[in-house]
C-alpha cells in the first residue's frame, strides 16, 4: 500500500524539506501544497512544518491559521487523516482551534535553541503517532522557539490525558512540562521540539523518526481493517 502525505508550505516555513525527508524515510510519498490552496485529496497524513508564517505578526501562527488549507483540516481529520504540526505548525493548530490551550512567550524570556530530551508518556498509547512506542521511551530532539511555552487556563486538569511527550527538564516554563499535545481523537499531534530535525544519524540523532515510523505503521495496520464504507469519500475517488 502506498502511503501518501502532504506537507503544507506557509509563507515563511523553513522546515518543510526536513519534514518531507523524514516522512519519505519511513515510506511516505510526499507532496508539498501551498497554504492558500486546497488540500490534496486522498492523503493519509498532513504535516504543518516548522519555521515562521506571515512573519508571525500579532501572535505566532494566528494569520496562518485562517488559510485555505488549514480551514480544510477538520474535514480531512474527520475523514481519518493524521495531522502533525511541528513548532510553528503546532502554534498554527492551536490558533486554528484544532488543539486546546495556547502557546506563548517562553519563561524565563528568550529564544531557546538547544537539544532536549523528551519522554513518551502513557497517554501516547491512545494515539497513532505513538503506535507501538513504549511509554518511557526517551527521544533526543532539537528545539528552537521563542513562543513555545504551552499554557492552559485550567492548569494540569486541562491537559489530562492529552500530553504524549514531556520534557525531562522543562526548558521554557511549559505547563506540566508539555512538549507535545494530542486532540481528543489522538490523530492530531502538535509537537514543539523538532522530530524531523532528528531523523538521521548525520544530524546528531535519529530518534525523531520513531514518531513518523509509528504513524506509518499504524496506517498500514489500520488499512487492513478498513472497508470501502469507512474510507473517506475523497480517498475513494483518488486511488
Amino acid at each position: 500500500m502506498t502511503l501518501r502525505a502532504a506537507v503544507i508550505v506557509f509563507p515563511g516555513s523553513n522546515g518543510e524539506r526536513d519534514l518531507a525527508e523524514a516522512l519519505t524515510a519511513v515510506g511516505f510519498c510526499v507532496e508539498y501544497t501551498r497554504s492558500d490552496a486546497h488540500l490534496p485529496t486522498g492523503v493519509q497524513l498532513i504535516g504543518l512544518p516548522g519555521g515562521f508564517s506571515y512573519g508571525d505578526y500579532w501572535r505566532a501562527g494566528m494569520l496562518a491559521s485562517r488559510d485555505q488549507a488549514v480551514r480544510e483540516l477538520p474535514a480531512a481529520i474527520q475523514g481519518g487523516a493524521l495531522v502533525i504540526g511541528i513548532c510553528n505548525g503546532f502554534q498554527i493548530l492551536v490558533e486554528a482551534g484544532l488543539l486546546d490551550g495556547a502557546l506563548t512567550y517562553n519563561s524565563p524570556p528568550g529564544f531557546r535553541h538547544r537539544w532536549v530530551t523528551v519522554e513518551v508518556a502513557a497517554t501516547g498509547a491512545r494515539s497513532p503517532w505513538f503506535f507501538g512506542v513504549e511509554p518511557g521511551t526517551r527521544l533526543r530532539l532539537p528545539m528552537a522557539n521563542g513562543e513555545g511555552r504551552y499554557y492552559h487556563p485550567d492548569g494540569e486538569a486541562g491537559v489530562a490525558g492529552r500530553v504524549p511527550l514531556r520534557y525531562v527538564s522543562n526548558p521554557n516554563g511549559s505547563l506540566a512540562s508539555t512538549a507535545a499535545l494530542l486532540d481528543d481523537s489522538g490523530r492530531v499531534l502538535g509537537v514543539m521540539p523538532h522530530p524531523e530535525r532528528a531523523s538521521d544519524p548525520l544530524l546528531g540523532s535519529e530518534s525523531g523518526l520513531a514518531i513518523f515510523a509509528a504513524a506509518a505503521r499504524w496506517l498500514r495496520t489500520s488499512a487492513h481493517h478498513k472497508t470501502e464504507s469507512n474510507i473517506a469519500p475523497e480517498a475513494r475517488s483518488n486511488p
Partner: protein, 88 residues
C-alpha cells in the same frame, strides 16, 4: 432613509489576562531597571490596533470590533481586550 454608514475610528488594546505570566513585561522591566530607572514596575506588554470600522454608530462599531476580537485578534486563554472609540 436609513442612517448612512460612516468610518468610525476605533482602538483595540490587547493585554495578557491577569494571572498569565508576561515574559515580555519582565524583560522590559529588567531593561529599564538596568538603565537606572530604579524600582520601576512594568504592568504588562500588550498590543494596540487602530482601525476604521464602517458602522452606523459607535455601538455598532464596538460590536463589530468585538466580533473581530473573538474571531481572530484575541486568544481568550491568554489575553483580554478593551475597545475604545476614538475622536474622529
Amino acid at each position: 432613509m436609513a442612517a448612512a454608514s460612516a468610518l468610525i475610528p476605533v482602538e483595540v488594546i490587547v493585554t495578557p489576562r491577569p494571572g498569565v505570566r508576561d515574559p515580555q513585561g519582565e524583560a522590559v522591566q529588567e531593561a529599564l531597571r538596568n538603565l537606572g530607572h530604579g524600582p520601576v514596575e512594568v504592568g504588562c506588554v500588550g498590543r494596540v490596533l487602530r482601525l476604521s470600522v464602517p458602522a452606523s454608530d459607535e455601538q455598532a462599531a464596538r460590536a463589530a470590533v468585538s466580533r473581530m476580537c473573538d474571531e481572530l485578534l484575541v486568544n481568550p486563554n491568554l489575553e483580554t481586550y478593551e475597545v475604545r472609540v476614538r475622536a474622529a
